[in-house]
């Protein structure tokens, strides 16, 4: 997404537009933070208030970087409240599967049962959450709401170890318990249902416990569906965050040696010094090339010579989202699910509101009937 972001903000209209659409980053403060996109605010008239019409004009989505578990995308034209709702939902309300109950048959290692259970809970479990139901606390575990893992490991001396060995790897067998030791035990029709998909820990090399000869761990772990609101172990997002697109507004051209100094005030690649020919002489001019990677460090504002020439801003309705997955869900699936959940939450509230209104109507009519009867008497 490359567009010319340097423009001259000189007229009152320009300055007003900056205040309406930008968050202004000043030397020691941030101003013009709140959105002014409300009816009757300044010149907002909302003549034909058609929601979809306005959305079509404003909203743009662009996926910038994408790999299976990591993505960066831009949403332009939404309010901060919606961006924040999406972020909150990605972290706290997109369901996944995680170990919730651990039945410990034997644990003679030095790690306590409850600590071991907690560590197991935090292991990301790859399993499609859409294929499972939420398990209510009163319900019994079934093949529709529970995945069962078994872990059984015993540490022994390595008979091949020599007397000089000091490395535990040489001395012992099975002294490290890794997440790979969790073996899935299909219940009911699970073996048939999931014959084409993988169920197990996302990473095989998560260290759960360490043991010494004679120690043993044997347990059964039950995975349940849940969401991050209840416990962070169910959160599918390693990070889900957004920032606003930085924009550097040049009020005047910055030329000559100042251009070099100006460029050095920003992260590498944000500002580049170009040479242009003016009246046969080549002059160095600073150009804003890639404001996206700017850190908005405000270094420029510390220099007197740039004080009136530059304005650091962020575009208020341009959100750069970064979503990293823990490996359970694909990154785009997290985003898609969050949108789905937000709209289903709205539908649910709408139903609740309808129900309330109907109740009220019933009460009103019955009251009217009562009054009518009173009159009869």
């Amino acid at each position: 997404m490359k567009k010319s972001t340097s423009k001259k903000a000189s007229t009152i209209q320009d300055r007003l537009e900056v205040l309406q659409t930008r968050v202004v980053v000043e030397r020691d403060s941030v101003s013009s933070i709140s959105s002014s996109d409300f009816p009757f605010h300044t010149n907002n008239q909302y003549p034909n208030h058609d929601v979809l019409e306005r959305l079509r004009k404003k909203i743009k989505i662009a996926i910038e970087k994408k790999s299976q578990y990591d993505m960066e995308f831009d949403i332009i034209g939404i309010d901060a409240s919606i961006a924040n709702a999406l972020r909150r939902i990605m972290i706290a309300e997109v369901p996944t599967m995680a170990i919730e109950k651990v039945f410990i048959y034997d644990n003679t290692s030095i790690i306590q049962d409850e600590v071991l259970a907690h560590r197991l809970g935090l292991i990301p479990i790859k399993a499609d959450p859409d294929q499972f139901d939420f398990k209510q606390s009163t319900e019994h575990p079934t093949d529709q709401n529970t995945i069962v893992f078994k872990l059984k490991q015993e540490c022994k001396r390595n008979p091949k170890a020599t007397a000089n060995d000091t490395d535990p790897k040489q001395l012992y067998i099975n002294h490290n318990v890794y997440s790979a030791a969790l073996t899935w035990e299909p219940k009911g029709d699970q073996a048939e249902r999931f014959k084409n998909c993988f169920i197990g820990p996302v990473h095989d090399d998560i260290l759960i416990a360490q043991m010494r000869p004679g120690q043993k761990i044997e347990l059964e772990a039950h995975c349940e569906k849940g969401c991050g609101k209840e416990h962070a172990k169910w959160s599918p997002a390693a990070t889900a965050s957004y920032r606003l697109m930085p924009e550097i507004i040049l009020k005047e051209e910055i030329t000559g040696d100042l251009a070099d100094k100006f460029a050095s005030c920003f992260a590498p690649g944000v500002v580049e010094v170009e040479k242009t020919n003016v009246d046969g002489e080549s002059i160095k001019v600073a150009k804003v090339v890639n404001p996206r990677i700017d850190t908005v460090s405000r270094e420029v504002l510390r220099h007197k010579e740039f004080e009136d020439k530059v304005q650091l801003t962020r575009i208020r309705d341009h959100f750069i989202f970064r979503v990293e997955s823990t490996g359970i869900l694909d990154s785009e699936k997290i985003v898609f699910d969050s949108l789905q959940i937000l709209s289903s939450k709205c539908t649910m509230l709408l139903k609740a509101l309808d129900l309330k209104l109907k109740e009220k109507e019933e009460v009103d009519t019955s009251q009217k009937n009562d009054n009518a009867m009173d009159l009869d008497v």
Partner: protein, 159 residues
């Protein structure tokens, strides 16, 4: 010992209501909506959508106590309409907007070639137009959508 249950954050006991509407006794066309088991996610978003309406004079939300998972939204409208109708419109508009975002997101996903789309999600793309059509016809549209009245910008929080 007296720690609240973990599931209290979202679990609404069966039979209990999701929403409580209390009309204001002193101000006309004003009401508070108490929504149980919701947080800033819905509260802030509904507040914002309400403020987009010219007929809404005031809209704000608060979470009265951090250990009680309820949101209170207060709405005051002009005489042209009722707070309930405006909240319904806000929710409908929100569904439209999120539906639009979803369609746009899928569109761009299809555009970005480098990515791998699993099988079940491909079918989601094909379904998309139907979903959009459903959303374009809001179930509850207030009859009066004309612009006018003494609408203004409300202040969020603390009322």
């Amino acid at each position: 010992m007296n720690a609240p249950d973990r599931f209290d954050v979202f679990y609404l006991p069966p039979g209990s209501q999701k929403m409580k509407i209390t009309p204001d006794t002193k101000v006309q066309n004003a009401a508070t909506f108490e929504i149980f088991r919701e947080d800033h996610t819905m509260g802030n978003v509904i507040r914002h959508k309400l403020l987009q309406e010219p007929q809404v004079i005031f809209a704000g939300y608060k979470i009265p106590h951090p250990l009680e998972h309820n949101v209170i939204i207060r709405v005051q409208t002009t005489n042209e309409t009722k707070p309930e109708a405006m909240v319904a419109k806000a929710l409908n508009d929100l569904i439209t907007e999120v539906g639009y975002l979803r369609a746009k997101f899928m569109e761009d996903l299809g555009r970005a070639r480098a990515l791998v789309i699993p099988r079940e999600q491909k079918s989601m793309i094909e379904q998309e137009p139907q979903i959009m059509q459903g959303i374009q016809q809001p179930t509850r549209e207030p009859t009066n959508t004309s612009v006018g009245g003494a609408g203004g910008v409300g202040v969020d929080m603390d009322f």
